[in-house]
Amino acid sequence: MPLVYSMIKIENLKKHFGSKHILNGVNLEIKDGEVTTIIGGSGTGKSTLIKCIIRLLEPDGGKIIVDGQDITHLNNEFELAKLRKNFGYLFQEGALFDSLTVGENVTFGLKYLTDTPKSDYAKIAREKLALVGLKNIENLRPSELSGGMKKRVSLARVLATNPKVILYDEPTSGLDPIMSEIISQLILDLKHKLGVTSVVITHDMKSAFEISDTLAMLYEGKMQLVASKEEFRRTQNPYVKQFIAGSAIGPIQMKISD
């Protein structure tokens, strides 16, 4: 078995908001150059988990080790900026800056995270937008774009700084099936060509099985199962089985009220 370096190691991670315990002892290892997909119902804390990894949130307990460095309670802004240099984060709704043009959005991180000269910005914007299948929209405002385009522009913004690790918060939600497929292919491309490590949150099981090296299912603040996709297909774990099948009947009871 080849020795794969673990890029991110999460040990017994805990996070609560008020009296609500969202993460209750999560353990997960994310291997370098692999695609790890986290699945789980809405509101189970998937976004909370990846926000802890990039330290938009501070965990209440446990440990997160990124590339050998313990970042659990890193609070120095300069150290955090160094950490974030290696990361890209694709937000669920894109989170494009309304006040800037598409081109300015794509190149926003270059100013703060890299030493790229300003004269290269236009070229980089064009290149990265082409990667996500967009052309000649640099001067538009985000409000003039469709939901799917916003998401792709946002992905171009993530790619602009050439991150080593990309965290995707539901990259295919709100996209048509063809665009979803293109994004899935892009995630795989980044892995094969550039060796990017990816952590993907998704509900889209088709995409999950297509892109993942490792799948992890989060339920009630803990990982139900962390395994390869073959094992996920074969598993007898009732929670995982119900979720993959998308069945309303099973041990997972969605809270409809509340």
Binding site: I54, Y89, F91, Q92, E93, A95, F97, D98, K111, L113
Partner: protein, 258 residues
């Protein structure tokens, strides 16, 4: 009853503490990072330059009504419209100029700042700033604080000048005060210390509005409804705080003979 009051006190001091922390961070980043010059200029344009017409109008009419009221009162008591210039000048420069300008800017620009930052918060744009290597204090708060603190004193001066002019028109045209009397009232009695008194107030109000509106925006929760709530809150709190600061500053400045 006591429980409610206690809860309110805890809430109040928590908010006060967090806002103080934001001020501390702003000072830190002001010295530790390069100023976002284009952002700052844009905000001066939005907060200051675009407010000029409304400030000129309010200044003019406040001066006019002051002259009219003072004239009528003096006419009743002393059977002659005496000291109109003195009354208009003093009340405008020391009190009404700064307070009314601050009120108008809180309603016009403060609300816009809270709504914009609040919307950025609920659409994850604030988090996006952090993942792209900068932070909301550096990119949003400092430029706005500076814009408020530059704009409001200058607008106050505009308002003072327009008010004195409005008072002049009413005194001379409607009350029959000789024009040289009005002018000599102002030039004889109104000194540089009165102007300083007004400007110190204007800068203090500007700082308060900036802190309150940015803080309320950054701490917005719960979507569109939350943005509305923060915005209303920011304007109301700004107005109350302006009057509270006004009283204490007047007392302090008076004690120092300004």
């Amino acid at each position: 009853m006591f429980k409610k009051f206690g809860k309110f006190l805890i809430y109040f001091f928590t908010q006060f503490g967090l806002a103080t922390e934001m001020i501390k961070d702003s000072v830190f980043w002001f010295f530790k990072s390069k100023l976002e010059i284009s952002q700052t200029l844009q905000q001066i344009l939005k907060i200051g330059v675009e407010s000029v017409p409304v400030i000129l109008m309010t200044g003019l009419f406040v001066g006019m009504v002051l002259a009219l009221q003072a004239g009528n009162t003096m006419q009743n008591i002393l059977s002659e419209p005496l000291y109109i210039g003195l009354l208009v000048g003093f009340s405008l420069v020391r009190e009404l100029g700064p307070v009314l300008t601050a009120f108008v800017i809180a309603g016009r620009a403060g609300a816009a700042v809270t709504a914009e930052i609040g919307t950025m918060r609920v659409t994850e744009q604030i988090d996006a700033l952090s993942t792209l290597g900068t932070n909301p204090i550096r990119y949003l708060v400092i430029p706005r604080l500076i814009a408020f603190m530059v704009s409001i004193p200058i607008l106050t001066l505009f308002s003072d000048i327009m008010g004195i002019f409005g008072g002049y028109v009413v005194s001379v045209e409607a009350l029959g005060v000789p024009s040289h009397t009005y002018i000599s009232d102002i030039t004889t009695y109104l000194g540089i210390d009165d102007l300083m008194h007004g400007l110190i107030k204007a800068i203090s109000f500007a700082f308060a509005i900036g802190v309150i509106c940015c803080y309320k925006g950054l701490n917005t929760r719960n979507g569109a409804e939350g943005v509305g709530k923060s915005t209303t809150g920011a304007v109301v709190i700004s107005m109350v705080i302006i009057l509270v600061i006004d009283y204490f500053l007047t007392a302090i400045l008076h004690a120092f003979g300004v």
